[in-house]
Subunit: 301 residues, 6 copies
């Protein structure tokens, strides 16, 4: 079970110039083989399929808890894409029909973001192909699953850096700068788990790929607050045994790793404005707002 909190894990800039071309690239971080849907669903399914949890609790807790953080990552990627698409058609609430309102978006690389959607995120990759369950590896074998997860985070960091270098929209840069740091923590966590189980020291491979996060301003910012060292516990009461695995020093900086015994506070998400030309949330958003207002009153809110 989960409880949902209406906040996001990192601060994103408000909408600025629309960037549908960049937004198509960011989709790779949503629905690509190494996107956040993959990290989220891999760890989620591995935790669901875990047998004999009692006998291997610290490892179960690690995987289950990182899965919970990853949910926040698909949320962030989606918020980024939506921010980048905002303004692609006239922003605002006024009900109006104007011929050619989407002309500016013609030729956008992922047209379904606007034809089927409301200038919104798709569960697709940068080629416009859907994320699929084939991206999930859940063998039930703990060492294999951890090996996979280490590899998955490696590939994911590769993809994130590439998007950082390719797309210069501030929301994309803020996103990738943050995810590089958090992905790095997960990579360390899985390497440490493998070391404790088998003796193989994968931390010698760090950084892998060789990304100099300390030269990336949008990442460096999070290193200053120690985000590259902390594993948060995303649960009111459970997953307490992660401390048995996530320990020692960071392989790149030598600083001590740290378990934070609660979820991060997060940030108020930007409430992105209506795009009435794509019916988001309607052709006449203010009429919905009036209905909502009345319902709130009736409910005594």
């Amino acid at each position: 079970m989960i409880l949902r909190i209406d906040r996001v894990q990192a601060e994103l800039p408000p909408p600025s110039d629309p960037d549908p071309v960049g937004a198509a690239a960011v989709q790779e971080l949503m629905g690509g083989r190494f996107g956040e849907m993959s990290t989220f669903m891999n760890y989620t399914m591995q935790s669901f399929n875990f047998r004999n949890k009692a006998g291997a609790r610290p490892f179960y807790d690690l995987i289950a808890n990182i899965a919970a953080e990853e949910y926040g990552h698909i949320e962030l990627v989606s918020a980024t894409i939506n921010t980048m698409l905002t303004g692609g058609s006239p922003v605002g609430d006024k009900p109006k029909f104007k011929k050619g309102a989407l002309k500016k978006l013609e030729g956008m690389p992922n047209p379904q973001q606007a034809i089927g959607g409301g200038q919104g995120t798709l569960v697709q990759d940068s080629h416009g192909r859907p994320w699929t369950g084939d991206n999930v590896f859940s063998s039930g074998d703990l060492v294999e699953d951890l090996t996979h997860n280490f590899f998955l985070e490696t590939g994911a960091r590769n993809n994130k850096l590439k998007v950082y270098e390719m797309v210069d929209h501030p929301a994309a840069r803020a996103l990738t700068g943050y995810l590089l740091i958090r992905g790095g923590v997960h990579q360390v966590a899985y390497a440490r788990a493998l070391e404790l189980l088998t003796g193989a020291d994968l931390t010698k491979m760090f950084p892998t790929p060789r990304i100099p996060t300390d030269k990336i301003p949008e990442s460096k910012k999070h290193m200053k607050t120690g985000e590259h060292l902390k594993l948060y516990r995303f649960s009111p009461d459970d997953y307490r045994e992660i401390v048995a695995v996530f320990k020692g020093n960071h392989p790149e900086t030598g600083e001590p790793l740290e378990v934070v015994d609660e979820a991060p506070k997060g940030f108020e998400p930007n409430d992105l404005p209506s795009q009435s030309a794509v019916f988001a949330p309607d052709y006449a958003p203010e009429e919905i707002a009036q209905i909502a207002e009345k319902l709130r009153k009736d409910a005594g809110l």
Copy 2:
């Protein structure tokens, strides 16, 4: 963001006779077009893509909050499948290699559950095809999204009843009996939201499909505790405006609908036993248990 709780929303029976044929059918409720991955990800993405939340808060809260409950449903379906697969190869921890250990599973309809997995759940449907992002509808248009959601719950209930009638394993029956009731609540919620927005009274279509839940013992059980009337709030602090929409009487029984201002307590999940022949969690689970024990001690747990 989410917080994860290590409990499940319904009680499932412990493993009994393995039923890989039935487990293949239950996969439809996991990764089929109308499976729980679809309800979970549809509402999740619709909430991510929602524009101008401030102006339509009660509707945003409704969709976002139901999305949170659906996470618990993919968890339950997975637990059911894993329960049904338990015992397909020799259960237990003893490290041993025995020729033909999986012979009993040859010809199982979804062989990847055992060849690639540890007698575990796949993110696939009953035909062994992966769930894909193409199953997500998120137009950004509130009325369209709600119309879709009403239809999705309708199709989902159809599928659940069919699995109930086809598979007699007690775990499958417990699962479907429960999901029929909860899916019914969501169906009512979306119908009510549409009515409040447009005036169209979809409750006249209930039950749709015409499933007599009160004649299904595994559903009836949950009606006695009022599960067919309650919408839980799955958040510490957010989504409080669902009360503005989920109100009035149940279209089938006439009883008053009710918002419960917290998540249900849930149940301790069964810790399914090792299946060492499929390396779940290892060929020699007790060695992992020893390592884990030592790590726990080191961490002072």
Copy 3:
């Protein structure tokens, strides 16, 4: 069984400037989830799978008859795309090989239209992905199928308007203006069928999505001739019971709905010119024409 008539349901303008970027967007209306392949094949399969037709004839007739009209829609969408691609390489019959003849098409969003095809339509969506049978919903349950169909037409109208706003090629505008009107008729038909079966009045949701068709010149034109009110019977002798369902007034205009007891007369399709650089219909079309001429003579035509 069908009889085929070599005419199209709406008049399209002749080829003008080629528009491969727009043509890629129009592909969504061919092979997208809400494209015409979907409406055509959904109603076709539902009519094939209908059980106990004798007991529910008016509803069977409605679905089967609308299926027949939808065939004409895939034809129209294809004609539109082909019109928009005409001229992308040198038009005409002269056999000639010229280096770089397709240079102008490099970077077109759906390159298979020219690499594999003869500047022709693909059974794909706007992302270059094929239409699939997964887009068909045919539960056999009449109320569910009708609920689906109402939702499908809703999503389809959304997509059509988006393409209308995004693409300004006259053929695309003529197509979408027409399809918005006809899709609206089908939406009303399914809403009415549901009302007669269950009492739920979906017409209160109209227009859904809230498209002001009377402000769209290419749609308005067809409203003047009453195309928004008429359901044609596409059969020499069958499907006569549609009159039992398609009746009452149009929910938006209040005018009376009307069953026309024959198919519309249609229009002579444009015979699009050869594009010999893509071998359509050949590198040297006039040689084929000579062979054809001789064959005609031999056959006394």
Copy 4:
């Protein structure tokens, strides 16, 4: 445009013993690469994409007209599958809920036929994978398209014979016996077209594959009425130039080929009975029947 006729091209036996295993194999003839969806949609799209029809009319007419016949083939395959699935759950109209009503279908190779459908046909192949637009070849090059079509019919005949030999349900045998004959006619037609265009005599390859249709009772029956020699014109007025191509003698029997200037009369399709356990057409079909009866009366039918 098409006109639809509520008759089928061949007579099928009424439902007898249900055969879900055989029905799964017959799905290959529906949605497989060489199934009827492929023949139907290949020729349909080739006719839509045909450029300079005026210059190559006899060939355009041939492809367009065979496309029309193929629609009747998907209809027949669907009717066969539905016949074979009839009786898999209790047949009849009485509204009743009975636990385990689908137990007999558990383990059926294509469970979605019943879980998602009403014991009905899917747009899928024998592996439960959807037909896709990737199965369509439409190059625009007349000689290439005809070469493809000849090959497609060759592969299709292979598949039909295999299903004939694998499945002994009388409906499957009646279907494949008939389709082998009609597919043979199309194969001859495309071979003849190629010969007339290029001089290459493909009729020397007949029969290909080497199927002795005259030893197959269910095919022989149709040869007696000359079905192996006739090309029907499926149109009130169009496609008259097929006579310029379909001529000469049959390569296997030496008998003269014949163009029939109208569609075959066809047969009244079996109205398959309700399967209320799968909601087809409802849980309580007789209630729908009452509504329908009233609507008919109101409409003066």
Copy 5:
């Protein structure tokens, strides 16, 4: 470029009882995510995409050379499947048509092996889904690619053992016994390469998964001849620098690893008999044989 040799890398038993159910499971080793198509094409593409080979020759040679061996593995898996399918319909050359000749294969898990094929191998997995290029990882980053390859071989060994335990047909056992050994060599090779590049000692993870190959008779047999220690050079002249990487001792047995400077001699493949009922290689194979005989004579062979 390649040269092809008409021999196979391991000896397989001749056909015995047909086993279509087991053959469906073996398909996972052909077209599954961890099947031999994946190992073959991953290393092949990584070698094609390798940049600056001169600077990293030993690593390029390693990957390119293992790719060559993997071609022999898809060949072996296919030979195994075909062996297991032999006899599913009457074996032999006599041209005959017999109703129900494939009845014995009805309900086989991968019906396309016979409906579309000649009782032959498909490029599919055990669920009947095609291998796809999405299974290829080729990042261009040497360390990442090697990490992937180590993980891929780990997963592949898991799948092979599962098939070994599930299927008892002697051909399947011979195949998996052999592939477990050769896959192990590749796993060691990639671990060694990573160690030399980064210092991380992955050999501490062996065996991974924990398969006791020395207790598997069909594997043990190959260990006796040292197959678990040898890396063959599959090239007349190239890839000589593999010796710079493949060295040291085997992590499980402590024996020295060895580069063999030529390809293994291999074995004469079984020439599987005709299956005329599925037209393999024809309905009347002896007629083809006569033609072939004449052609040979004409060519002086």
Copy 6:
């Protein structure tokens, strides 16, 4: 089994201006339905699935031997794409991190070439969709397989010419000019095989499609050295019976066809430079080079 040779079949120009748009089109020749993966894997699988080779040896040898040549074609296509992508980010070895290093590639049609890859080839088509095993036809019926292969080569030549006309990068032109010639040889070979087996003379269809290769400078060049007439034997000792089939004159030029009893000598492939911004082969390629140098020394190379 195969032996691999580190040479390519045709000479490609060195990298010049990067052309990611053209490279996306060339992907069609890699992973499209008619790309080289398809020719390679079709003939490979047909040779694996061949039954009773002894009875039809000349035909088996023909298919198996052409399969071997096709491997060299996927290699060439990949080399072409990689050449065209070289320089898309700064070329060279110096380790450096530079913001926006991939900005130039934003909006490239196949972004995964850079986001997931190292400016390298994907196993995908021009729409960014993966090649799949569904592209393989292997019926086991010799005449059908040959008919398919003739058609496949026909379609492949069509695609190659289109890419030639669309993309003017010198590497793409060199590639397609060469492949048109070699594809033509295979087309003739399959036509000849069919003629010898059935008597049908498909050579009358040549050229098909009607490509005037002698007017294409990049093809003409290879005709001068007789590449359009030669079938090479790609094996040290096997496939000697191809001479029994590949004989007679070329249908277009009338010159005698020729079997060359060894593989062509080929060309040294270009060693494409590092692209450190995409980690190919690393962020700091010269460090790998130092390690490699040391390993070479240690191994006495």
